[in-house]
């Protein structure tokens, strides 16, 4: 009796594990399916796409669509592919990420180590900036960029992304520096170290992890942005996300799905790469930005 009972539970336990793993694999397939479809479609020829189906493997692998998406695909009337827009994105994402991270680090440092009367109120005020729907600032910002003479320019995009990224970077650094024991800086201050000395000598050496989190978060957000790009830039100044959307919506002649998919992969590759290389930090940024925000 005891024996059969034992084997039964072992059996049902085995069954349970099998169902569990089956479910997990089904979900994994579901999440991977769009990526698989994108990659296979991008290396198929148009005839292959029409003859086969969504999940059929390519008859032969051709990178022609990739080259076309990069160099010669038509976006509107211009037929120069995505390469210019890719470089646009790089040229405003890099400065915007670096500036917003640096300023965020200083802000976080002040808000934890050099608190003054009212600094908590100011922090809360800044935090609310994370929550506004950006639609509410688009019209005034479009005007202001015009006044400043940086409408439809790379400096304009840098400016906008820095301004609306500061709330997040400040939040990251502030929440990180709160955990640094204040004795550390108090001792340094008694020894006569000043504001910047403490920052460079004590705080910054503690910060690599949070800097990586902030850089990755900002990079992903700014690279993937569409709203600011589509509103504040036009023509050959547009970032890659806007160009991708225009490329897909450009309807001249035959619809080239393989080029669309190659373009989508090109636009997604940088952030995907960052995710694969530094997924741990990516997740930390997500949860830190989310839970505490």
């Amino acid at each position: 009796m005891a024996d059969t009972y034992q084997t039964q539970t072992a059996g049902s336990q085995w069954l349970g594990r099998a169902v569990l793993y089956a479910l997990l694999v089904v979900f994994a397939v579901y999440y991977l399916m769009p990526l698989f479809v994108m990659v296979t479609t991008s290396v198929k020829t148009l005839d292959d796409i029409r003859a086969g189906n969504l999940i059929a493997l390519p008859q032969e692998i051709s990178f022609a669509a990739w080259f076309k998406a990069w160099g010669t695909a038509c976006i509107g009337v211009e037929c120069n592919g995505l390469k210019g827009n890719f470089l646009n994105s790089v040229s405003f994402v890099v400065p915007a990420v670096l500036i917003s991270t640096l300023v965020g680090a200083f802000n976080g440092y002040v808000l934890t180590m050099w608190r003054f009367r009212g600094s908590d109120v100011l922090f809360t005020m800044l935090l609310l900036g994370c929550f506004i729907p950006f639609q509410v600032i688009l019209l005034p910002m479009a005007q202001t960029l015009g006044y400043l003479g940086i409408a439809n320019s790379i400096p304009g995009l840098i400016f906008v992304h820095v301004v609306y990224g500061l709330a997040f970077t400040t939040l990251f650094f502030r929440n990180f520096y709160v955990t640094v024991p204040s004795d550390l800086t108090k001792a340094a201050r008694i020894d006569g170290a000043g504001f910047f000395t403490i920052f460079w000598r004590i705080i910054l050496p503690l910060s690599p992890a949070i800097i990586v989190v902030s850089v990755i978060w900002q990079f992903t957000q700014i690279w993937n942005d569409f709203l600011f790009g589509v509103v504040f830039s036009s023509g050959d100044r547009q970032p890659i996300t806007v160009a991708l959307n225009n490329l897909v919506n450009t309807s001249t002649g035959v619809k080239e799905y393989n080029v669309d998919m190659s373009a989508a992969i090109i636009a997604g590759l940088p952030t995907l790469f960052v995710y694969i290389v530094a997924g741990k930090y990516f997740l930390r940024g997500l949860t830190a930005g989310a839970v505490k925000g």
């Binding site: 991977l32 005020m125 929550f131 995710y275």
Partner: protein, 306 residues
């Protein structure tokens, strides 16, 4: 002793300036950011609010004309479609993400082999732009060569799945793509929450003979309440400001059947030269965010402080 005292008294005038600098420096460093927040967040909200009470069309005008824009906004059929779509999309998107996210987190929490690998697969869509996601799903969901064609080739010749080109159904494709992108994130939040549950309580329940289901429904899931709140806040925030996904997936179409408030605002403010109306819709969006998120945050902080 005396030398030290002498030294400090000699230093005094010099030190006073340094002291002054030391106390002012933090404020000087924080100043620009605060100025930026004041102007570019709060000032701009007031500016947009002002515009919403004017008859601005192609160019902004600043003579106040009362609630004209709000009245025409709520008489606009397209705005009602956008609001209805926000209800459908927001509701389904949040429920699907919460349910599937929690399910995945619980499944992953069963001492799974290759957990890190699976987690990375569920989460990678979060690294992509909604434009990339939209482009991919637009191809998958297109009836001609996409999923419908695939199932028909498999022998189900009458299978029809053309929501993306069907008015009234296209908003549901936005839910499909949006949930695909965001569930992994909710899973990560729940998984972190599950790992934080006190093992001692679970062991005690096991000793008392509680079944695993019972342990989940009566102990673990209720203790995840704060995670539910954070997830709810983030998901409703994503839903209300959803713009890119609709633009890439359906372009708001067919017609304007899958418009959301964000695409409505963009279309009227920037393509149709109706600045006043666009501003009014933006203010309604802000008020929606405030109306949903503030009570959620308030109830959550009050609960944790008690």
């Amino acid at each position: 002793m005396t030398t030290a005292a002498n030294a400090s008294s000699l230093d005094r005038p010099h030190k006073r300036f340094a002291d002054y600098l030391e106390t002012a420096l933090p404020k000087i460093v924080l100043g620009p950011t605060l100025l930026i927040a004041l102007i570019f967040i709060y000032g701009f909200i007031i500016w947009t609010g002002w515009l919403s009470f004017t008859e601005s069309r192609l160019l902004p005008r600043y003579e106040l004309t009362g609630f004209v824009q709000y009245i025409s906004l709520f008489e606009n059929e397209r705005w009602w479609v956008a609001l209805r779509n926000l209800g459908i999309f927001g509701g389904l998107f949040i429920v699907v993400c919460l349910v599937v996210g929690l399910l995945l987190a619980i499944l992953l929490d069963q001492r799974i082999r290759a957990e890190g690998f699976l987690r990375a697969i569920y989460l990678y869509p979060m690294a992509l732009s909604f434009i990339v996601t939209g482009t991919a799903w637009r191809w998958i969901l297109n009836p001609g060569l996409g999923l419908q064609n695939l199932v028909r080739q498999m022998g189900f010749e009458n299978f029809t799945f053309d929501w993306i080109v069907t008015p009234g159904m296209s908003i549901y494709t936005v839910v499909i793509a949006g949930a695909w992108q965001s569930t992994g994130f909710v899973m990560a939040l729940f998984l972190a929450g599950l790992r934080g549950v006190d093992d001692a309580i679970i062991k005690a329940a096991q000793v008392d003979g509680a079944s695993p289901t019972r342990i989940y429904t009566s102990i673990i899931i209720p203790s995840l309440r704060p995670v539910f709140f954070s997830a709810l806040i983030i998901l409703s925030h994503i839903a209300i400001k959803s713009f890119d996904l609709v633009m890439a997936l359906t372009g708001g179409g067919p017609g304007f059947s899958s418009d959301l408030p964000a695409t409505f605002m963009y279309t009227f403010a920037f393509n149709r030269n109706q600045i006043g109306l666009g501003a009014a819709s933006a203010i309604i969006m802000l008020m929606t965010v405030v109306a949903i998120i503030v009570p959620l945050m308030y109830s959550e902080t009050r609960r944790t402080h008690r």
